[in-house]
């Protein structure tokens, strides 16, 4: 009975494991094995060359060039693209109008395919008839017009920027979700605390001054009641000890926020680096074409 039960359990995962092993795991392991052979992919005979292929690649200037390009694009993605994504998430993480519209638009480039994005931008950046050069000429900056994608001076940066255009939506959504997990009450509390210590000028909650401190807290949700209560209590106390409590709390909440940001940055990196490996694949694509021609 128990054996039958276990077999039945395995039946559930059998299709997934079979397909996955056949089309994912086996080719993946096979890469390492094939790397040690000289083989044209068709003939039945393979010649063992040990680490010879690796040596050849490591001495190949074109390969190093491709590695540099992939590394450069990744660097731009991790710095410029992430900074932009974070700034946008920060800007959208507040009570502003059209918040949902912005969110809708910023994730539009990521849902489009690489082919569509690539060809649409290629047309805009075209050296002869592209819109960008047309605008530059009209603005009297004809000297800046160039063939953006084939001029060695600009090609890599142009590709990196288009890549960022397509990719920043991922970071934006993930950072926004990360920021939204930080309870608002904590953040406003941090600001208030730091305000009394002079960390920030008194510009975040102007309404407070008008309404009086305590009434400003009526928006606290139930689960933060303890925090709110303590704070109200704090506020009635004398200035010195109040400031003392502030130092501790400010440190704690700053850490809390920093920790949250690190978490979403880590997850984002995880997504993004995976994506970048994918983007640096044109080389492999050429390999596939090459293989077909043989």
């Amino acid at each position: 009975m128990k054996v039958k039960d276990t077999l039945e359990n395995y039946m559930f995962i059998l299709p997934a494991v079979t397909i996955f092993a056949l089309f994912y795991i086996i080719p993946f392991i096979w890469v390492f094995q094939l790397g040690l052979y000289e083989w044209d992919g068709i003939l039945p005979t393979k010649t063992f060359v040990g680490l010879g292929n690796f040596r050849e690649i490591l001495l190949d200037k074109i390969w190093w060039g491709a590695m540099f390009n992939a590394g450069y694009i990744t660097l731009i993605a991790l710095t410029f693209q992430n900074a932009l994504a974070f700034l946008l998430a920060w800007a959208c993480d507040r009570e502003i109008r059209m918040k949902n519209f912005y969110r809708l638009v910023f994730f539009l480039p990521p849902v489009l395919s690489e082919v569509v994005v690539g060809l649409a931008w290629q047309w805009i950046l075209d050296g002869n008839y592209g819109l960008l050069n047309h605008w530059l000429t009209n603005l009297g900056l004809a000297s800046l017009a160039r063939n953006w994608l084939s001029d060695p001076a600009t090609a890599l940066n142009t590709v990196a920027i288009v890549h960022s255009w397509k990719g920043f939506g991922w970071g934006f959504l993930i950072f926004l979700a990360g920021l939204q997990t930080i309870p608002r009450t904590l953040r406003s509390r941090t600001r208030r605390r730091s305000r009394c210590l002079g960390f920030f000028p008194q510009d975040h909650y102007p309404a407070d001054g008008a309404r009086g401190g305590i009434s400003g807290y009526t928006h606290c949700p139930g689960d933060d009641a303890g925090i709110c209560f303590n704070y109200r209590y704090d506020q009635r106390r004398a200035g010195v000890s109040y400031a003392g409590a502030g130092v501790k709390d400010f440190g704690f909440y700053a850490w809390f926020i920093a920790f949250r940001l690190c978490l979403c940055a880590r997850d984002y990196l995880w997504f993004n680096v995976g994506g970048d490996i994918f983007y640096s694949i044109p080389l492999l694509q050429q390999g596939a074409e090459h293989l077909k021609k043989r």
């Binding site: 089309f23 080719p27 890469v31 395919s113």
Partner: protein, 282 residues
């Protein structure tokens, strides 16, 4: 003494700066798409001279030409077929596996689950050369089945992860009730677990459908036969054939991108959920 008016005006100025920034990025996001559509409505004679965003005469015949002469009708049908087949395959296979990983105990459970999760880090193009050889040996290269099976294996990891996380949170009482009534394990999976998983299945469907529709590199490896190619692969070939005919190319791009944009606008909720639920473990 700073007055309330001072703070209010400061807040307004800050809001204006934020909106300017957001609107600038919005325009940058949308403009290439507008330009693509606008270019598709021009003719080969006017496209190099007429740089206006809205052309004076709208030439919709490019779409008819791309659809009929360019074969985009057939490629669209191919893409729809692949997306449907892959999504159905993934839903059945991934939900079976995720249900087992979540509910049953059997030897090797953790190891197998870890294997699926580890694969989320490794992109499939890394092993394209052996995959090509393997498909050749199995006589699956240049066949729809080969492409569909490869795409199912690409989508499995993430789908299993999403579904297992969902099943883990699902209370077991309903399944217990079904078991007492004499329902088999497969019966419980089909009649109880799957219907309850509808919200997360929607995420899986939308994500995988987008993924298959947008896939290009694997299609490049698998297909030589024009009649079997999906849209993205055909588009690159189209670019080679009609290199100078930009309006036709832009019409092809629009035909390819439009369904995705519509699906995205309708299913936005599920897409956002998919992106963030996979990303925020913390």
């Amino acid at each position: 003494m700073r007055t309330i008016a001072y703070y209010k005006s400061k807040k307004i100025v800050l809001n204006i700066i934020i909106h300017l920034f957001l609107v600038a990025v919005t325009i940058t996001c949308l403009f290439p798409l507008f330009w693509m559509i606008s270019s598709s409505l021009k003719t080969q004679q006017t496209i190099f001279k007429d740089m206006s965003l809205i052309p004076k005469e709208l030439h919709f015949e490019n779409y008819i030409l791309a659809w009929k002469e360019g074969g985009f009708g057939r490629y669209s049908l191919n893409s729809i077929f692949y997306a449907t087949a892959v999504v159905i395959g993934i839903i059945i296979i991934a939900s079976l596996a995720a249900y087992a990983f979540s509910r049953f105990k059997f030897p090797g459970r953790n190891f197998l689950f870890f294997m699926f999760m580890a694969a989320m880090m490794i992109p499939i193009p890394g092993s394209f050369v052996p995959l090509y050889v393997l498909l050749n040996k199995l006589h699956l290269r240049n066949t729809a089945l080969g492409y569909i099976l490869c795409m199912v294996s690409v989508g499995l990891s993430t789908s299993i992860f999403l579904l297992k996380t969902f099943f883990d949170k699902l209370p077991r009482e309903l399944e217990d009730a079904a078991r007492i009534d004499g329902c088999s394990k497969f019966g419980i999976w089909w009649h109880v677990a799957l219907p309850l998983a509808k919200p997360v299945l929607a995420v899986v469907v939308v994500f995988n459908a987008l993924n298959v529709w947008n896939e290009y590199v694997l299609a490049l490896v698998v297909f030589d036969n024009k009649n079997l190619m999906p849209l993205q692969r055909a588009l690159m070939m189209f670019q080679g054939e009609f290199l100078t005919d930009y309006p036709l190319l832009m019409a092809g791009l629009t035909i390819t991108a439009l369904p995705i944009i519509i699906v995205y606008l309708l299913m936005q909720k599920y897409i956002v959920k998919g992106v963030t639920s996979g990303a925020l473990f913390g």
